[in-house]
Symmetry: C2
Subunit: 249 residues, 2 copies
DNA sequence: GCCGGGTGCTAACACAGGTTGGTGAAAGCG
DNA sequence: CGCTTTCACCAACCTGTGTTAGCACCCGGC
């Protein structure tokens, strides 16, 4: 099974072979995007549903005066709203952070999938509900946590999300963002992101170099940032995230 | 037509009598909540879909140390995610701000509606997509705008949303929040909310008393906060919001 | 008719984080 | 092979916002 979406959905439910095949067949229309290229831009007509197969992407909005806020990350297996095509135009942009592969699933295919496979449909809704929950948590993050907590919380979330699709290496995962982009995510200045990263390193909580984030002390990082993974709604039966049973080091 | 949800959906599409009746029939299970009472709490099992008929409510999350972030407002006609019941437990709470009437639509009724009425279904999806767009915009708000812009932006959004359900009075609408609650919404301290409100009043942009917000200079308030209503996805054909054609005073 | 708690409001002070203006190293490129 | 751009990083300074504490008002309960 190569499709990261299927790996993600496995956190919620087990899919039949038929359903897995149907998902794979619908993910054929693949386009590659260069780093920093827009997948779809604010104001564009909405098209099919985007599925990130490989790489790293983000949603963002820009204000008239140029300020930019990144409002979501896409890790492989992430899907934008199942029903985007109901809206006429995009109110935000989706951009590739690094070179990425994105499948576009046509509205017709989405409707066909959701009319044919009830279990799969529930799983797809689960994934969009989780996306919304993440958006809410990000709002809590910028609204209530200070810079250190905020950054730590983001890193915890990222590790959990990469684990959920089996793309972690132990307590490491890719994080191909510049400090400016992290700043635009966290609602901080890039200078302060730099200070904050150094503080996290000084405390031996993380390392971050060459686009790879390694969490050296996950328990401490979670405690520091009041990280509670409930909002990710990963399988309750198996409380530990996939890929790594042991946490910490 | 008394159901605010129907008034809201009219911003997106025209519903048939059958569809309107079906919505009304599903909104029969009504409960009243007192001010500051939880409609549903973090950790609770998810139940049916909540529809605010009357009053004012909010979604919020609290951190372990007591900090609280309000992540969404519900004005009459607002609906929480059509698919909540897929998740096992709530990762946040919904609380009434003032005495409110809330209808609960059972999962079965939701599924029945969406299987029977395609136009209505599109309209309901539209409303949840708008809710998500609002969440993203709030993130931009806290992440990028300073206190004055942030507060101004929230007020613009509120007026637009009340207009969309015909519950404005000209450029006034109800805003039954304390300054502490505004602070928890905007990611500010209550002291600073107070300072900010006074600055807005000093500039003759708003008045806010007795739970009523009046926007004295909407154009200026929009310009100040870089407010662009596109994310609310109100009917493109009729670009002005419902209820009031003339803006400003 | 008084008491107590919640709320709006204010002032003084503190500090987290923003701003500006750099440096050097590495990477892309003509 | 330099030239330019990008990025991480740094220091000095500034400011928006938080904190603390306190006052006055209102309202509901007893």
């Amino acid at each position: 099974m190569n499709n990261p979406l299927l790996r993600k959905l496995a956190n919620f439910t087990q899919l039949s072979e038929d359903e897995s095949n149907a998902v794979n067949e619908c993910s054929q229309d693949v386009r590659e995007f260069a780093a920093r290229e827009d997948v779809i831009s604010q104001g564009d007509r909405t098209g099919g549903v985007k599925l990130l197969l490989d790489g790293f992407a983000c949603r963002y909005k820009v204000l008239e005066d140029g300020r930019r806020q990144i409002v979501a990350y896409f890790v492989p297996g992430d899907l934008c709203d199942l029903r985007v095509f109901i809206l006429k135009r995009m109110d935000h942009s989706i951009g590739a952070v690094v070179a990425s592969k994105v499948a576009t699933i046509s509205p017709e295919n989405i409707l066909r999938l959701t009319h044919t496979y009830p279990t799969l449909t529930r799983a797809l809704w689960w994934s969009t509900l989780v996306e919304e929950a993440i958006a809410r948590e990000w709002l809590v993050n910028v609204g209530q946590r200070d810079a250190l907590e905020r950054t730590a919380h983001l890193f915890c979330e990222l590790l959990y999300r990469f684990r959920a699709v089996g793309l972690n290496q132990g307590n490491s995962c890719t994080l191909p963002l510049t400090q400016v982009e992290l700043a635009e995510t966290l609602g901080l200045s890039s200078v302060h992101v730099n200070r904050t990263l150094q503080e996290l390193r000084r405390r031996n909580l993380i390392t971050l170099e060459g686009g790879t984030l390694t969490i050296q002390d996950l328990d401490e990082l979670k405690a520091l940032s009041f990280f509670n993974p409930d909002y990710l709604h990963l399988d309750y039966g198996n409380d530990k995230p996939r890929g790594e049973e042991r946490e910490g080091n």
